[in-house]
């Protein structure tokens, strides 16, 4: 059921209760969790936080905790699965779902109690959900019964009703077909809605409990969605503008000099920033070599591309010694002019969208971090391969680490995460280069396909869903740019399916699909396609991730699964 007033129907209901918060392992969910935590602290609500990475995790943790908690909050998980069916909760358990996964499961949406959805009241999203009447019909069950009765009644009597019952049956069949069609249309694409942290921030704002810190987390949540290409640029800008409004409202009091805040307070700035990965914490050169837009535009994996990158730097007039230096040690003059310099030369080199609206936070004199870097860092902490043991299972300490990294922007964990993020980006860059050089991206007709071999040096990085997803976006964009013009026109409309080893001993691989480059709505059709392909070939797959476009399967079944996928999608 949709909650109309989250303050009254959600927050006031859980005050003085114990709550269980189940948090999916992505940055957005962690940010939402951080905001919720501080709200709970204000009202002395006792809570338990449990990380869940997959659907099976959700079921297991629920079974373990169901005795102790009757109020359960799901952050970025659960909206797209039928909770009542999978968890089979007893009557006194209530679920509050704050999730950005779409489409919302219809049972969750239409059930009268137990499952409550907290959404941003976005007309577009609500319109997408089919009407109640189309999906459920009151007389459905009656008819079933009367049909059963019919058989036992006398034949003569039955004939008289024939006409009417036939009509009814026909109508019902038509209705059922239409229902199937509507549900199919509804569930065809999976995509992301408003991010969870923004919804929770909204809740905090309604209760007048928002402050700069909460705002920063909301910013990180929105940036995470954009950075991992879960939402298009349009939706990101809408989100950013909303946050900017909040920012100026929170900070207008200390704009004049009389009551400006101490430098030791956290300060958030809105700015047009360069879309380069981690450049404040790396050298400019490295960062240009590892950001998605510059990697694909210059084709840095080729010699010519490298030359072009050097040309670009020469055009800007930044000496090589300067740009290979850590950003902190670059000339102050260069640093100040960097944005205009980059922008001017970017035009000449046909680099588009190199600037984007973003936020940065400052704390004291030396801790300045921009939102996208923070997201890189926390993501890296979440998918830290050092903590993963051989089974691909972690002991959840990555969750605690990531929360710690988010807690303060000056936290040492944040620094650690930045270093990890650099390693991951290097792995991405190296692999993008080799994949395109070797021609490992193949066109299978309706989609592009590529796979990461078990022996490759960095395969461990790619067994994590978020990182695999980021890699496939890098790869797709670079691949499309590397093609000739005629081929490019075609490839730009093709989605990409990528396969990576997940658990070598068990012979399990992870498969992810991403939407085509040209599509800015980021709607993903692979969720359903994967399910159908698996059903058709009876492959041993497990659709365990919350994101339906990422699945795991047995290696042996892979080829027939891909064949089936081709037939389905053509």
């Amino acid at each position: 059921m949709l909650l109309t007033d989250p303050v009254k129907d959600f927050f006031h209901k859980i005050v003085h209760q114990r709550v269980l918060v189940m948090v999916a392992l992505d940055v957005d969910a962690l940010c939402a969790c951080k905001i919720l935590q501080s709200l709970f602290r204000c009202d002395n609500i006792q809570y338990t936080l449990v990380p869940v990475s997959k659907k099976s995790d959700l079921v297991r943790e629920y079974e373990e905790h169901k005795e102790q908690n009757k109020h359960i909050i799901l952050l970025n998980c659960g909206a797209n699965i039928d909770l009542l069916n999978t968890l089979d909760p007893s009557e006194d358990v209530t679920f509050y779902v704050i999730d950005s996964h779409r489409p919302i499961d219809l049972v969750n949406f239409y059930c009268e109690r137990q499952v409550y959805l907290i959404l941003k009241h976005n007309q577009q999203e609500i319109d997408a959900i089919p009407d109640y009447d189309v999906i459920y019909r009151e007389y459905d069950s009656d008819e079933e019964e009367s049909e059963g009765d019919d058989d036992t009644e006398q034949v003569s009597k039955r004939r008289r009703f024939d006409e009417a019952s036939l009509m009814r049956k026909k109508e019902r069949r038509e209705w059922e077909e239409r229902r199937k069609e509507i549900i199919f249309d509804y569930e065809e694409f999976s995509y992301y809605g408003t991010c969870a942290s923004l919804i929770v921030y909204d809740l905090a704002w309604r209760m007048s409990k928002d402050n700069n810190e909460l705002l920063w987390w909301a910013i990180a949540g929105v940036t995470d969605q954009f950075q991992n290409k879960r939402i298009g640029r349009d939706r990101y800008v809408t989100g950013v503008l909303e946050l900017q409004g909040h920012m100026s409202r929170l900070n207008h009091a200390n704009e004049d000099e009389d009551n400006s805040k101490s430098i030791d307070c956290m300060r958030i700035n809105f700015e047009h920033d360069l879309d380069l990965a981690l450049y404040r914490h790396w050298s400019l050169f490295e960062s240009l070599c590892h950001s998605i837009s510059t990697v694909s535009a210059f084709k840095v994996w080729t010699n010519i591309g490298m030359k072009k990158l050097h040309q670009f730097l020469a055009e800007m007039g930044i000496p090589l010694t300067q740009c290979k230096q850590n950003y902190e040690f670059m000339d102050t003059k260069m640093r100040d002019n960097l944005q205009t310099l980059v922008e001017e030369s970017a035009l000449k080199f046909g680099l588009k969208n190199l600037k984007f609206q973003s936020f940065s936070a400052q704390y004291g004199f030396n801790h300045k971090i921009c939102a996208s870097d923070a997201v890189y860092s926390v993501n890296a902490l979440l998918e830290n391969i050092k903590l993963t043991d051989t089974n691909g299972m972690t002991d959840k300490s990555n969750f605690v680490d990531a929360l710690e990294g988010l807690s303060r922007i000056s936290a040492p964990k944040m620094k650690e995460g930045l270093e990890l993020a650099k390693l991951q980006l290097q792995a991405i860059r190296n692999n993008v280069g080799t994949f395109i050089d070797v021609g490992q991206v193949l066109s299978y007709g309706p989609f592009l396909y590529t796979s990461i071999k078990e022996g490759s040096p960095d395969y461990k990085y790619f067994s994590h869903p978020t990182h695999l997803n980021l890699f496939s976006h890098y790869l797709l964009q670079s691949y499309v740019r590397s093609l000739g013009k005629s081929k490019r026109e075609k490839a730009i409309h093709l989605p990409l399916v990528i396969c990576a080893p997940c658990d070598i001993e068990e012979g399990i691989s992870i498969i992810a699909g991403i939407p085509p480059l040209a599509d800015d709505s980021r709607k993903n059709l692979f969720g359903n396609a994967f399910i159908h392909a698996a059903e058709r070939t009876k492959s041993r797959t497990s659709h365990d991730y919350f994101d339906s476009s990422i699945i795991t399967m047995k290696n042996e079944d892979r080829s027939k699964f891909i064949d089936a996928l081709i037939t389905i999608m053509t």
């Binding site: 114990r18 006792q46 338990t48 449990v50 990380p51 373990e64 905790h65 710690e404």
Partner: protein, 195 residues
């Protein structure tokens, strides 16, 4: 020189004043006592001589010095023992009635006896306060918040709180619990306080 060994005991205690309780130096104490015994006997002999022969006063200074050394040794020993007891007492407030084994191993037998007796009288006193007793060892400083945020370090099964509700303590889950309920678990190292 007389009194050297006793001073060594004091030094040793002073060295790990801020750390944990050091091991009880039984050997050192025994040596001091032996020294005192020797001094006492020597003094006894000289004094007996002095009493017999009042004309010969030569050994009087020696007696005086030995007596002072005796006094000093006694003082040092008492200081050593007293300060150890004071430390043990503060440990009782820090760790509760059950001490960790590594600290317990550092205590002498008599100290253990004293500790159990102290425990008993403290418990008796606390029980006599108000209806149902009052745990004095809690909240030595006024707490800032009734609830604190803790992270569970090991699997511990269910924890039942005062209000009857239960919490499942699983490794790496985070909880927001009443401070009074989890303070002892933090001391035992099951939970970790997140600031």
């Amino acid at each position: 020189m007389f009194g050297e060994k006793a001073l060594e005991l004091i030094r040793e205690f002073n060295r790990n004043k801020d750390g944990n309780l050091g091991p009880y130096n039984e050997d050192g104490v025994r040596q001091v006592l032996e020294e005192m015994q020797v001094l006492y006997e020597a003094n006894q002999n000289d004094v007996a001589q002095l009493v017999q022969d009042t004309s010969d006063q030569t050994s009087l200074t020696a007696v005086q010095i030995r007596h002072d050394s005796l006094q000093r040794n006694k003082r040092c020993l008492l200081a050593y023992l007293y300060n150890r007891l004071a430390k043990i007492r503060s440990l009782r407030w820090e760790f509760g009635s059950v001490l960790p084994p590594d600290i317990k191993n550092n205590m002498s037998e008599k100290e253990v006896q004293w500790f159990t007796r102290y425990n008993r009288s403290l418990a008796n006193y606390m029980r006599s306060l108000g209806p149902g007793g009052l745990d004095l060892t809690q909240d030595l400083q006024p707490p800032q918040n009734v609830y604190i945020e803790v992270r569970c370090v090991e699997d511990r099964g269910e924890l039942e709180l005062n209000d009857g509700s239960k919490v499942l303590l699983k490794k790496n889950s985070l909880h927001y619990l009443p401070r009074s309920q989890c303070e002892h678990l933090i001391r035992q190292g099951v939970l970790k306080h997140i600031t």
